[in-house]
Symmetry: C3
Subunit: 393 residues, 3 copies
């Protein structure tokens, strides 16, 4: 019998279903408020969380590989070099076609540099009156070499400390204007980019599958007419970045080629296409800047007895291909989390309506009486009255 | 007395506890539905949100540093170069051992190029009948130089416009087959990769701490037997990427070495190990492609009076080491958010069971009567009947 | 009339408002528990989810562009090179100023290498007694070239297999100590970094707008006094990474320059500033390491009849500028999701208090009776008693 009672209690424990007692009120104002708040919350959930923010998707970052190939020729006729045809091998540094490539557009060439002692370029720290002003072994970070401790004539009027350096010194006070290779504007670059979202087993290339080799041989990127042509004219890219090619070519700069692969992978694969944009990445504001533009020095060495080199300070445009984007795809987890969280707000509807019911309706006292019973441990009379209220509405 | 009443009202305001009145129904079908839906939701929360999706973790992206070092020798015996031994310095470009390195496997060499005028390679746009067909200063993007405006003999039968260019022109119509350095297949590369999850103060290297220097000197990566050896045979990587080394070496290509460091940092650090995979990144489909394979041109300059260079069009395999992964670690915030959201669905259980209770059970009218009272502002008779219903069940 | 009834039923369907019947209990212990759990949950939501974890924000990853420029001179006086002044062009490889740059600090130079046959360096696999021990065409991965199949004298006492290689072989058993360019410690590097959060339309540079050109010309980075000076002394960076410059310069290594741009974009833009940190990225633990330090080989070619080269094994420090960070900004979606999820826990308050009410209070039976009615399909007597209980509390 004890076992039977125990079994019975277990059954109750498992099968008992507890549900709140409710009252149903037919009232147009309350019903209207109820439906309105319900509608607003559901509209928000469906419209904003689901449609706008795609809260039902999980996302993944991109994996990308880029190769680039510049094409174009130009000819220069400068006093130093004479008539010279420039091809890719000479003006693209480094030549490998990586995701960041530099196109040489201007240069200051210092030929015949050799390791020897010569007078430093005049500056407040290098001008001297006698050997006492110079310190052997001292190296000024902003100078050109290591002082020998001797004060020598730089020109007829100025004496400077002698330095051991690659002499003659480079004179970079005047940059050729217009830029030597200003016609680099017409060069084109082919950008091949393949991306991958490993979690979604998705991979794609910026040369779309509906594009033919014949089209690729003739096209040039144009935001409105040829948005999927992977061949870009350098001048166009600089214009898109709202810069002037001429002045950029003179002093150098960094142009970012941004490729946005943000994709909604719940749609067919063909809608996932790259969007290109162009932006200047370096600071062109001269007021709080140091070493504006973009340049670097490199040398060509000549071995003929003593080691001699030609120093080139190359100015140009560095193009950084920056691939970014996140892909989204339906995920049960995210759907549940975002729906669940948003739906929690539906429980607010009851609270709002209850408040409206017992404060703003004409028959509020009646409703309050029907809805709520007051129990009171300390004052049993109230408990009684509650009992009464309830028994005889 | 007013103060006392106010104080009393405040006490009520603070200590009043409102709780719904409930009815408990002992009914096997309803109880079963109730427990079943409860179980399903809890199983989903525990099983999917917690165990599968690790909803209790916060995640962080990886910071990585890679260095590579290729090893291997090969000998070639071509007509141009003669017997030549190739070492790393010659076939790895650039030599620094960065996360993207290029192994030269094939090449077209054009020796003795100098800046001069010569006949353009025949093409629809370069073939001419007389000087009138050529425009001085014109530069065809797909040509080899700047036209001088003169029409000259290219061969006995064909006349083309003369161009100022690095002459003689490169002839890249036939690529050496098989690839010159096909034996690059046997070269090995040591990849050193160290990663860091700054938020979790975690850092690790792909050379695991239980690996000895002796093992490293002899091992080669093998997915099944040596999955943590950081030395990779180039041929093996290409095979893993499901490509044929011979044809890849001929025309060039890009192979991605993906290192996946996705880790669950709630487990001991030793379970966080890199997983390698290999994939071809460039497009090998010839139908909608341009400049297939991977190659770039570079030159070796010789200064002897007039500037002369040797132009090399190098084909080869670029290996991109791509490190990715996200680490997850327990986070109270994420646990609460994901649990909270998932648990919201538990409140659906009540709705489901209530619907079942008042529509599908045999005694549904009785239950509905017990559970719900109807108030009706407009029709007081209904309110009366509700009262009655309630008072005498 | 049927239409009227249908319309009436529709009205009810739309305007009926169902709300649970509740009882209000005035009990200090229960009320206290109720308010306490409510307070704890709200404190958690406000304090942790909102303030600490910024659960109301959405986040985005960074897009970054870096350029670097090293400055400094040093002089060396080695037996091979004689007195030699080093400038940036010579010790920074590659010269472009990318986000990863290498500063040469030590080197082993092998001059006059030519393609010829010579005795292999002695090792267990290269030592031979007769030609039978050598295999023509064999290339040992850890050797220096391709065996010719002949056994020749390496020294008076040792015979090794002859190899076709760049001879003479490099001897890298002793690395110059101290490092040849140990004074690279005093070189400085200017790092220009511009970042972008495209979703938030935010872009900024590490040269802050309140910094003047005059300040930039003289400053050096110092974590406490000049935290926003973009000019770094190499020695300082190595010290910050808790390494010794001398030993690092000797064998080489990789230093990561981490720039953290984590920003709360709900605050004014001026509070979003870069934080620099420095860390050694490669493994300096010699026990489970291979090829410790950082070095690579490169060659300078000389064309004078037969091709001759100077092979340089360069040791040095590679600096990797690693830019990371996530920006957060207010997002309605995230606010709702995180608030919603956290607030779900408020519904637990009722469950906790109900349990306390019917188990731990002195008048628990009375409360249980008032709160809960028992219906029982199988035993109608219980249903009756429930009815009774209810009618007459």
């Amino acid at each position: 019998m004890a076992a039977g009672r125990c079994w019975n209690s277990c059954l109750h424990c498992f099968f008992d279903y507890e549900t709140p007692k409710t009252i149903v009120i037919y009232s147009k104002p309350v019903g209207f408020i109820f439906r309105l708040t319900q509608f607003l919350i559901i509209a928000y959930v469906v419209g904003y969380v689901i449609l706008v923010q795609k809260g039902y998707q999980e996302t993944e970052s991109i994996i990308s590989s880029v190769s680039t190939k510049v094409k174009g020729y130009t000819v220069t006729n400068s006093s130093g070099l004479g008539l010279h045809v420039w091809d890719v091998t000479e003006y693209v540094i480094p030549p490998q076609g990586a995701d960041s490539f530099f196109v040489l557009t201007n240069m200051i060439t210092t030929t015949g540099q050799r390791q020897q002692a010569c007078a430093e370029v005049p500056s407040p720290s290098s001008i001297c009156q006698s050997d006492a002003d110079c310190t052997a072994g001292h190296s000024d970070v902003r100078g050109n070499g290591i002082q020998t401790g001797v004060c020598v004539d730089y020109s007829e009027s100025v004496k400077t400390c002698e330095v051991l350096a690659w002499c003659p010194h480079e004179d970079d006070t005047t940059v050729p204007r217009p830029a030597l290779l200003e016609s680099a504007e017409n060069f084109t670059v082919l950008i091949k980019n393949s991306v991958r979202y490993p979690k979604f087993r998705f991979s794609k290339r910026n040369i779309l599958s509906n594009v033919t080799s014949a089209y690729l041989k003739g096209c040039t990127y144009d935001a409105s007419h040829h948005p999927h042509c992977p061949i870009f004219r350098l001048g166009d890219m600089v214009t898109h970045a709202q810069e002037d090619f001429g002045s950029l070519a003179e002093k150098g700069g960094i142009i970012g080629i941004l490729i946005d692969w943000s994709c909604d992978l719940d749609w067919p694969e063909k809608y996932c296409v790259p969007k290109y944009s162009f932006v200047r990445m370096d600071n062109k504001n001269p007021s709080n800047n140091i070493a504006p533009g973009y340049n670097f020095r490199f040398a060509k060495y000549v071995n003929n007895g003593t080691e001699t080199r030609t120093l080139i300070k190359g100015y140009g445009i560095r193009f950084d291909v920056i691939v970014y984007g996140t892909a989204g795809k339906f995920s049960l987890l995210n759907t549940v989390i975002n729906l669940g969280a948003a739906l929690t707000f539906l429980s607010l509807v009851g609270a709002v309506c209850d408040w409206f019911l017992v404060t703003c309706t004409p028959r509020k006292d009646y409703y309050a009486q029907q809805k709520t019973s007051h129990l009171d441990t300390e004052e049993s009379t109230e408990a009684m009255s509650m009992g009464k209220t309830y028994g005889t509405p």
